[in-house]
């Protein structure tokens, strides 16, 4: 009853359906783009989407943890910006070596996430508001550090930014992609094979039940916001590789992109249901939409927005239909 029969007699559990539909639609979009635009249907296009969105992917992984518990984290975009700003000002401004700086940035992101998680849990304040305050705070700290964009000229950073890892043929990826993929794998392992991960799902299913079942609710809740803070900081580090600059206006509105990616991937905002693979697909879909728009190449600024909206709409409606129609 809980499975749908597919051809060939194999059974695919119903819970994987949203992710599968997303994957199928992504493939369809890719093919449609290939038919419409010259030079589109190459493997490098997908790799470019990954290269250009590695930081978003990492941030979205953290967001997935939070959303799975039924929470939300609006601070991620600002924490990304703050991370680039701290990295740039320490590396360029004070001449610190890169590794301690990166460690410091990760610690700062995790600490901010920890603080927000603790406030959310112990003072029973809604995550939306606490993380909105966190968003103001992190962005404000950026401006306090400086309002100008700070270039990063450090060799390690530039080397990392400009390294190309060649794959077969012409295809290549950046080291950031490797990091992002590693983060995804680790996160998927944590979610599916550790107690922390299962507690995250339980918390999303029902916080009250989780409490009565004797699960460590406080620890889990604080942990997911810490993880999200950490992922945002890491996303910020990747973004500073990508941009080689720190700037208070980086990543404005990235929280919405991250949330959209998670939700497009089939995760429920009410928590308790969803997969990391869906999030990866969500990020790829958003990236592919953008790629299609730049291949289109003739859209005015406003048609760009309308077109993004329409693609998003078509995608989500098809995904809904795909996920619901099967008996």
């Amino acid at each position: 009853m809980t499975t749908i029969p597919l051809t060939g007699g194999r059974q695919i559990p119903r819970k994987y359906l949203p992710v599968l539909v997303t994957a199928a639609l992504f493939a369809a979009m890719f093919v449609a783009g290939g038919i419409r635009y010259e030079g589109f249907a190459t493997g490098q296009i997908v790799l470019n989407v990954l290269i250009d969105n590695a930081f978003l992917l990492v941030v979205a992984v953290g967001m997935t943890f939070v959303i799975l518990t039924g929470g939300i984290d609006l601070s991620v975009g600002s924490v990304v910006a703050l991370s680039t700003m701290i990295s740039a000002s320490l590396v360029t401004g004070l001449g610190w070596p890169p590794l301690p700086v990166i460690a410091l940035v990760l610690a700062a992101g995790a600490a901010l996430g920890f603080a927000m998680g603790a406030i959310i849990h112990y003072f029973e304040i809604q995550p939306f508001i606490v993380t909105l305050a966190g968003m103001f705070l992190a962005r404000g700290l950026c401006y306090t550090i400086g309002t100008d964009s700070v270039p990063i000229t450090d060799e390690t950073f530039t080397a990392f930014a400009q390294t190309r890892l060649d794959l077969v043929g012409e295809a290549w990826i950046s080291p950031s992609v490797v990091i992002a993929v590693a983060v995804v794998l680790v996160a998927a392992y944590v979610l599916h094979y550790t107690r922390l991960g299962r507690n995250v799902y339980a918390l999303g299913g029902s916080e009250q039940s989780a409490l009565l079942m004797g699960l460590p609710v406080a620890r889990t809740k604080i942990a997911v916001y810490t993880i999200s803070g950490l992922c945002s900081a890491l996303g910020g580090v990747l973004l500073s590789f990508y941009m080689l600059s720190g700037y208070g206006l980086h990543a404005v509105g990235m929280e919405l992109d991250a949330i959209a990616a998670v939700v497009i991937g089939g995760t429920l905002l009410t928590g308790g249901s969803g997969y990391l693979l869906g999030t990866v697909l969500g990020v790829l879909v958003l990236g592919l939409i953008q790629t299609m728009i730049s291949f289109e190449g003739t859209l005015s600024s406003w048609w760009t927005k309308i077109f993004i909206g329409l693609l998003l709409f078509a995608f989500i409606v098809l995904q809904r239909l795909g996920a619901v129609r099967r008996p």
């Binding site: 809980t2 550790t194 107690r195 029902s206 009250q208 009565l212 004797g214």
Partner: protein, 505 residues
């Protein structure tokens, strides 16, 4: 028998909620190797005592001792670690997780920190097999009936090595076979020296399993008794504070309904793939039709189809001789069909609203948003049913989530009674309701049907079905297999046999 030292002892416990004294100066002790029943009417404070014991609520005053040492648990987690395993009244599991996970979450079998899924499923299947439950352990819990969920919760509680096992109304949604199975498990645990605290409104069950009982009334201790030394009549008297005479049970069989009555609602070949096979069933004016069957036999599905809560794939519903499309509950309420769901927490009440708002909800929904029920009329209706059903506390502005389980059930019933339906579908209406209120509800159903209302009555208690129904429809494996008139020949035994054998015919 020389009484051993109690494993759990509480003294002088007080617990107040805003406006309610839930517990006042309660003493209680639990001995190892006994089954101890906690008795009392709805709202007497049983669940609150359990929650105080396990650290869900803080105490205002009083002491708790576990094996001689004073304890104050900060939450269920700590209580669990100290060896107190609890099944709370409402099923408190995570519906999004699989059955196996719900049993093991928090103590999954691991190797080097990695959860061993296969091992976990194997153990879960074993455990359920011991409870004689045949469920797919990797299916999400949400796909299981309340009964299966209840069994899973019990399985979770007995899976650990606990010194104390607390079961708050575990049997309210189980059928006879499952209850027997549960009791077998409880007896085995008892032999191992585990202390079991048991709450139930079924007196027969309490007398079957318990050694000793503690009675609460209005949050106060009435006393502690050996089960063998207290008769049922005395027990009920102590619970409600007056003599049982007031509570005369409905006798025997219902009166014959008017033969010529027209069917109010008739299902013709109504069915839904995966839920129930097409069935035909007519319910007449002034008639109570009982639905009997095992767990998961499809009783709830029948009710939901008749109410339009699920869409039927085949067949039609005929009301007063004309086929009508019943695609939504709204359409059904438009034809004055009412449905009291078995799952009050997820499908019935709106926890954050008040008693008053919950009671008038269906009436208001039928009138639409632009025609509010006048305040005066609300007060009249709510007042009337709060009194008739003895909803406690009788404060219409109390939030429903703060009511005891049984009182919540009464609120749900009141919601549908005030719309004066022509067909009232009651799915397990007496679940979790104390003896007094249960008799009250049974009397009410009989009265309503005498007054011309058609009733579809679903209950896991066959006696209750027999006592109220004019006709009993029997379901088995999601098929309607028999329709039996409730004449002198129909007894619970006959019914049981039909349920057991019907499919083969």
């Amino acid at each position: 028998m020389a009484a051993p030292d109690p494993i759990l002892r509480v003294s002088g416990i007080c617990k107040q909620f805003p406006g309610v004294n839930a517990l006042t100066d309660v003493d209680f002790r639990l001995l190892p190797g006994e089954v101890h029943a906690l008795m009392g009417e709805n709202g007497a404070g049983k669940s609150t005592l359990i929650k105080v014991l396990t650290g869900v609520h803080d105490v205002d005053a009083g002491e708790i001792e576990l094996a001689g040492t004073r304890v104050a648990f900060a939450g269920p987690l700590e209580a669990q670690r100290a060896g107190i395993s609890t099944v709370y009244q409402e099923v408190n599991l995570c519906a999004n997780l699989s059955v196996a996970e719900n049993i093991f979450i928090g103590r999954e079998p691991r190797r080097l920190g990695r959860i061993r899924w296969k091992e976990m499923r194997r153990r879960a299947a074993e455990l359920l097999a011991r409870l004689e439950l045949d469920a797919d352990v990797s299916a999400p819990l949400a796909a299981c009936s309340p009964a299966v969920q209840q069994m899973v919760a019990i399985a979770r509680a007995v899976a650990v090595d606990a010194r104390v096992l607390i079961l708050d109304e575990p049997t309210s949604s189980l059928d006879a076979g499952e209850v027997a199975q549960l009791f077998r498990v409880m007896r085995r645990l008892k032999e191992q020296g585990i202390a079991i605290l048991f709450v139930s409104h079924f007196l027969d069950q309490v007398y079957e399993i318990s050694d000793r009982m503690t009675i609460l009334r209005d949050g106060r201790l009435v006393g502690e008794y050996l089960t063998a030394e207290l008769s049922q009549v005395e027990l009920v008297g102590k619970m409600i504070g007056k003599e049982l005479a007031d509570l005369e049970r409905l006798d025997g069989k219902p009166k014959e309904p008017n033969e010529a009555a027209v069917p109010v609602v008739e299902a013709r070949g109504l069915g839904r793939a995966g839920a129930v096979e097409p069935f035909t069933l007519a319910i007449h004016e002034a008639e109570v039709v009982g639905l009997a069957g095992l767990l998961g036999s499809g009783r709830t599905e029948v009710a939901r189809l008749l109410f339009g809560a699920d869409r039927a794939d085949t067949g039609e519903v005929v009301i007063d001789g004309t086929p009508v499309p019943l695609r939504t509950p709204r359409a059904a309420t438009g034809h004055r069909i009412a449905f009291c769901s078995e799952n009050r927490r997820t499908e019935g009440l709106i926890a954050d609203l008040t008693v008053r708002e919950n009671i008038i909800l269906a009436l208001q929904a039928a009138r639409g948003w632009s025609r509010p029920v006048p305040r005066r009329r609300q007060d009249e209706l709510v007042e009337k049913y709060v009194r008739a059903l003895k909803i406690n506390p009788p404060d219409p502005d109390h939030l429903v989530k703060n009511l005891s389980g049984g009182n919540q059930q009464k609120v749900l019933l009141a919601r549908w009674l005030i719309v004066e339906p022509r067909l009232l579908i009651l799915d397990e209406p007496t679940r979790g309701i104390d003896v007094g209120a249960k008799a009250e509800i049974q009397r009410l159903v009989a009265e309503l049907s005498d007054g011309g209302m058609a009733v579809l009555f679903i209950s896991a208690e066959l006696e209750e079905v027999l006592r109220l129904s004019h006709r009993v429809a029997v379901l088995r494996d999601r098929r309607l297999v028999a329709e039996l008139p409730n004449d002198a020949d129909l007894t619970t035994d006959v019914l049981m046999r039909t349920i057991a054998s019907g499919a083969r015919s």
